[in-house]
């Protein structure tokens, strides 16, 4: 990460959905930065707010959802939330782009894949039909699609899931954006294809010098790809740290639980541990700490006082009362590893 201003700075981001039944605070006070060329992972269960955070960065939140006043998103020195619609549209796909989770449905069935990659060049570079097509074929070849000039003429349904994900990556990286957001890019794919797609993403990202914001629920992917991790729970970042630091000494009980729930090669444990309970709905977070209902270490302070982010070590922050109570923390960690 560069020492000057980061590529992306998100501060106090809140996205609320104003429904008839009340307000769902899907994202509630999220702050983080992404440096140029850096890979940052956002980890969390379904409903933790990670995908909504990603869509908010592109300003693609649909009503009744709304990015609340007071949120700040600065990208390349620009205040994205103050930007008019048209310049924001020109930013999408050119400076910030996104790879979606579902390669089966993220492509339009009535156009060839080459046409759809070329469309991005037509939107942003004002390229002619022939130029755009040539760029598309070249980009498809770069994503490792053999006979790219032939495959470009295929319709989405003629390609496998892995191939389609390559097409989506080609679309997202065609303009060499400064930031690529990838929302669970490998979740819908076969395990054998996942590693290839991650490799491809990393190679193309390096080549273009792009930063990568990787949204996943898979710590294996995090370890493989990211330099820093944000763990999200209940619409908040509950812990953020460099990858090694997080794996070595997770400070938040939720993070610790997620790590223990991960299968590990050569582990002697017979059963995987699970975190009891589920994420509560975003319209009904518990008072105080949002994780307390599922936390094995919760005590009365957790119900009355919402924890604020506290520094565990330089660059390592956790939103947990345990951080400020070393005695309890020691008891909790020994209890957990016993």
């Amino acid at each position: 990460m560069s020492d000057s201003t980061p590529l992306l700075e998100v501060r106090d981001l809140a996205v609320h959905f104003h429904g008839r039944a009340g307000v769902a605070r899907a994202v509630d006070g999220v702050s983080f930065t992404v440096g140029a060329g850096e890979t940052v992972a956002i980890v969390g269960e379904s409903g933790s707010g990670k995908s909504v955070t990603a869509l908010a960065l592109l300003r693609l939140i649909e009503p009744p959802g709304r990015i609340e006043p007071g949120s700040v998103i600065r990208f390349e020195g620009q205040d994205l939330l103050a930007l008019a619609d048209e310049p924001m549209r020109r930013l999408r796909g050119r400076r910030i782009s996104m790879v979606f989770q579902e390669p089966m449905t993220a492509l339009n069935p009535v156009f060839t894949v080459g046409d759809q990659v070329a469309e991005v060049a037509r939107i942003h570079a004002g390229a002619s039909r022939a130029d755009a097509w040539a760029r598309a074929v070249q980009m498809l070849a770069k994503t490792g699609i053999a006979d790219a000039d032939k495959r470009a003429r295929d319709y989405p349904h003629q390609l496998s899931g892995g191939m389609r994900q390559r097409v989506l990556i080609a679309m997202a990286l065609l303009m060499s954006p400064a930031l690529v957001i990838a929302d669970e890019p490998t979740t819908a794919l076969d395990v054998t294809i996942q590693a290839q797609i991650l490799d491809l993403l990393r190679t193309l990202q390096r080549e273009a010098g792009s930063a990568l914001l990787l949204i996943t629920h898979d710590f294996g992917v995090v370890a493989e790809m990211a330099q820093r991790v944000l763990v999200m729970y209940g619409g908040q970042v509950v812990e953020s740290a460099p990858v090694r630091e997080l794996f070595a000494s997770a400070a938040h009980p939720y993070t610790a639980g997620l790590l223990r729930a991960m299968p590990r090669m050569g582990a002697r444990r017979e059963r995987l541990e699970a975190i009891p309970g589920t994420v509560p709905p975003a319209s009904a977070w518990p008072s105080g700490c949002r994780f307390r209902d599922r936390c094995p270490f919760a005590w009365d302070r957790c119900a009355t006082e919402a924890p604020v982010p506290a520094e565990v070590a330089p660059g390592h922050v956790a939103r947990c009362h345990l951080v400020s109570e070393p005695a309890r923390r020691a008891a909790a960690t020994t209890g957990a590893t016993a």
């Binding site: 339009n108 009535v110 469309e119």
Partner: protein
């Protein structure tokens, strides 16, 4: 591409045949539909070699008038369908894509348009505007007939715009126009063509209904509806006068209905999930 359904092929064949009759009929049967053959007597002659479908009470050749009626009725239906398709598509897309305020206004317009009986509106309009030439009557028909189509377009467009590929396109910088033209319209081509074929059939039927109360295509221009209306007084003495145009109209409307049905079911673009 899968082979077209047989029902669709037959329906399309029937409609094409009617079209050929309308275009080439006057060449094959070069009789002036307005010519009065037996001026002093004005009798309705039975079918004969000279007049295969006889003559009407004004002593005009019924076959020639049926062919002329095909030209008018089919053009009438086409024009009305094009107008309804254009207005309905524009309104539906605007409602789905141009923001919540536009959606509310167009939504209210659609609700009102669908709530008021169309025939009633047409009767009031034709009474107020006087006797319109057939083309203007067809335009009026289209202007009063786009509401259902707009509602269909709106709901399909809304679903598509919220769907994965439209969202992916927006995330890569596609604007509203591109969304409408590339990601919505081609994917609702099936729905649109089925709706347009139905609008065509409705317009022809409604014109017949208007003719029955003397508000249809003005005389002496022949339309199928006008011919049925002209012939109904002689239904017991000269049934062919009303039966021939009725048969033509019913054939056309049934074929159009079957075609619309087949398009909707067979179209590869009919549903979002299916690939071409």
């Amino acid at each position: 591409m899968r082979p077209p359904a047989r029902g669709a092929a037959i329906a399309l064949g029937v409609l094409a045949l009617l079209g050929v009759v309308a275009v080439l009929g006057p060449v094959a049967w070069p009789v002036d539909p307005d010519h009065v053959f037996d001026a002093p007597m004005l009798v309705s002659a039975s079918p004969s070699v000279a007049h295969p479908l006889g003559t009407d009470p004004a002593s005009r050749d019924v076959l020639a008038r049926l062919i002329a009626g095909a030209r008018v009725s089919l053009s009438f239906g086409l024009l009305a369908a094009v107008v309804a398709l254009g207005l309905g598509t524009l309104a539906g897309l605007a409602a789905a894509l141009a923001g919540p305020r536009t959606d509310r206004v167009i939504g209210a317009l659609i609700d009102v348009g669908l709530a008021v009986p169309r025939l009633l509106v047409l009767i009031v309009l034709t009474a107020a505007l006087g006797r319109l030439p057939w083309a203007w009557l067809a335009v009026t028909m289209g202007v009063t007939g786009w509401f259902g189509l707009a509602r269909q377009v709106r709901s399909r467009a809304r679903a598509l715009a919220a769907g994965d590929f439209a969202r992916a396109a927006r995330a890569l910088g596609a604007g509203t126009r591109r969304l409408a033209l590339r990601h919505v319209l081609p994917n609702i081509a099936g729905t649109l063509s089925a709706a347009a074929v139905l609008a065509f059939a409705h317009a022809i039927t409604l014109e017949a209904a208007l003719s029955f109360i003397g508000q249809g295509v003005p005389i002496p221009v022949a339309s199928w509806g006008g011919l049925i209306s002209d012939g109904r007084a002689q239904l017991w003495t000269s049934p062919w006068l009303a039966l021939a145009p009725t048969l033509a109209l019913v054939t056309c409307v049934v074929a159009a209905g079957a075609l619309a049905d087949a398009i909707e079911r067979a179209s590869p673009w009919g549903r979002v999930e299916s690939a071409p």
